[in-house]
Structures are given as structure tokens and as C-alpha cells.
Symmetry: C2
Subunit: 198 residues, 2 copies
């Protein structure tokens, strides 16, 4: 058995998502081999991230200021809101540099079997935002392309249309760079149904 303090480090590393016993061992040995400065930089980065980051009271995205930089940026299109499930989804959309509107983070997706209903998500605060800011004309639903994300999209579409706002959904289809041969049937069917004039 490895020394106790090493075993303890392994246990904590294995709690991280995507880290199994072999990765944990590799990372642990790395963390013991690097300089004290490098190890402390990781510790202080973690502690300062936890101390400085919170969630925006308007859009619920991760932020160091409240409201967040996106909510307060006058250059962003105030007519457009993208609804996503979780904070990382905001970053992913931002990286495309294609979306210039604002965001709303639901905090998950509807999952009746796991007891997650609309009241567990920030649906109420989204409807309040639309009521308080009638300038919003389109909501892009960017929930995940799976069963729960789809159910959430349909639920939101119904709620939002009642309020007279245009509701859109991210397109489904072939991922760029993939081969037709390896596409799954459902994606290919959605890709056919969503075909566009060229």
C-alpha cells in the first residue's frame, strides 16, 4: 500500500470528474514532483476562484461581478437571450464569437424521473426578465441535444410563446468534419428534416 498521505491525495483526486485511478496516480506523482511554487499556484488559483466567483443575479452565469459583464455590457444585443442549461455552456457559446446577445442559465434541465421540475430551474426568473425587459424579441433555446434538453426546450417554447416572444432552437444536424457514414440514424434524420436551400 502507498504511504497514507499519498493514498489520501489519490482519494481526493479520484473524486474529480473524468479522473480514474490511473490518472489520479499520474497527477499525484506530478504534483509531488513539481516545485513548491507550482503546487502553491494551483492551490491559490483554486482558493481565489472559489472566493471570487459567484452567480450573476440576472442571468445566473458564473461571474466575478454582479450583475455579470455580459449582462452589463451595452455592446451586447439586448433583444436576444440564449437559454442554456449550465454555466459552462455560456463559455462554450462565447467561444464561437457568433452570439452577441445575453444569456440565461437554467441550472439544469427538466427531468421528471429525477424529480427536477420547472421550480428547480430558473424558469421563473427568465419569465420575470421578459416581463421587466419587454425589449427582448427572441429567445434562442440552447439546451443540450438530448431527451431532457429537448423536453426543456418544448416546455420553455410553450411558456415563452404565450408571452409573444419569438422562440428559436439551435439547429440539429451533422457535426462539421464528420463523415456521413458514421452519423447515427437520429442525427441523420434530423439533418434531413432540417435541410436548407444552398
Amino acid at each position: 500500500m502507498p504511504p497514507a498521505s499519498f493514498a489520501r491525495l489519490l482519494v481526493e483526486l479520484e473524486r474529480l470528474p473524468g479522473i480514474g485511478p490511473k490518472s489520479a496516480r499520474r497527477i499525484a506523482h506530478h504534483l509531488l514532483a513539481v516545485s513548491a511554487e507550482e503546487s502553491e499556484r494551483l492551490v491559490s488559483a483554486l482558493q481565489s476562484a472559489r472566493a471570487n466567483l459567484s452567480f450573476c443575479s440576472v442571468c445566473h452565469a458564473m461571474t466575478e461581478t454582479d450583475p455579470c459583464e455580459i449582462c452589463t455590457d451595452p455592446a451586447r444585443d439586448e433583444h436576444l437571450i440564449a437559454v442554456v442549461e449550465n454555466p459552462p455552456d455560456v463559455e462554450v457559446l462565447e467561444r464561437t464569437r457568433e452570439f452577441r446577445g445575453r444569456y440565461h442559465v437554467l441550472g439544469g434541465a427538466l427531468a421528471p424521473l429525477r424529480g427536477i421540475g420547472p421550480d428547480d430551474l430558473s424558469v421563473g426568473s427568465l419569465l420575470e426578465r421578459l416581463r421587466d425587459a419587454p425589449v427582448v424579441t427572441e429567445v434562442v433555446i440552447a439546451t443540450n441535444p438530448n431527451v431532457e434538453g429537448e423536453a426543456t426546450a418544448l416546455y420553455l417554447a410553450k411558456k415563452l410563446k404565450e408571452r409573444g416572444v419569438r422562440v428559436t432552437r439551435l439547429a440539429f444536424g451533422l457535426p462539421v468534419g464528420a463523415a456521413l457514414e458514421y452519423a447515427d440514424d437520429i442525427t441523420l434524420a434530423r439533418s434531413l428534416a432540417g435541410r436548407r436551400e444552398i
Copy 2:
């Protein structure tokens, strides 16, 4: 762009071996979402591992005491030493529960092209151990099954045989559970050459 303290955490996580940008983001969000206790447990496990662990002055394995528990355990076979490249290799052999001797960690393998010669490894201290403890009758060379590990094994075998000690090498062959069809040519050739009576 993500908030500055989040970006800093990503940079530090991406320094870890096997962690790319996507894993780093996933781990960072996890570390922000867990309780303060869980996050502090990771920090303190890392700090205490770094504070408590050092290398055994006899075998150079990772340890909390010096000499290490294996070097001082009277139940271990003092006639047998396994030579490995790095500290994690000790754990890997220990997990098999098949080796009851002691260890010697070289601290790497011979790599003339990268300027790593015998003086950069703990070869001298291995020869001293054999001189000081003539009770050792067999040295199992357990360096990696690659070019550098093999070169190191040949070099050590020569040095050790001069001292009249029996030198063995871990067997090469088919990995258990694999299919013959997928074995590479060199492994298959070594496996044929090392065939045994059944």
C-alpha cells in the same frame, strides 16, 4: 472570455498530466460546485502529501519514513531486489502482491540522446547496497519494456553480473486478456522466443 480567476484556475489545471482544455473546464466547474469542505480536503491532501512525503535514502522510493516501510520490513525477502525506473513503478509491482523482495528506484532510464547517463540515475547507490548487503542474491530488472528501459537493463545486467549476483528481467510476451490478432509483431516475436513448456 471567462472571469479572470476562473481562467487562472484553468491554466493551472491544464498543467497537470493528461488534462486538456475540456477536462480542465469540467474539473474547474466541479471544484467550484462542490462544498467548501470538499474543496479544502483536496487542498489539504495535496499540502500534507507534499509536506510528509520524501524519498527513502536506501531505495529512493516515495515514503513518509526514512528508511521506508519496505526497506525496514523484516518480513520482506532481503535476498531479492527489484530495480524500477520511477517511484510509481513500486506501487504497480506492490499491487500484484507477487513480489516479496525489496526495491531500488533508479530515478529514470539511460537516454544518451537526452544526456541521461548512469551518473544521473541511482546506479552508484545500487552497487553500494549490493556491496554493503552481500545477502542479496538476485536482482530483478523491472525497467520499462521500451528502448530506454531495455538499454538500462542491459547496462545494469553487465554491471551486476560483474559482482556475481543473479540478474533477471521481467518476462516479455502477450498481455493477459488480449487477442493474438491485435498483438504487435515485436511482442509476438518476444512471446515466441520466450515460450515455455506447459
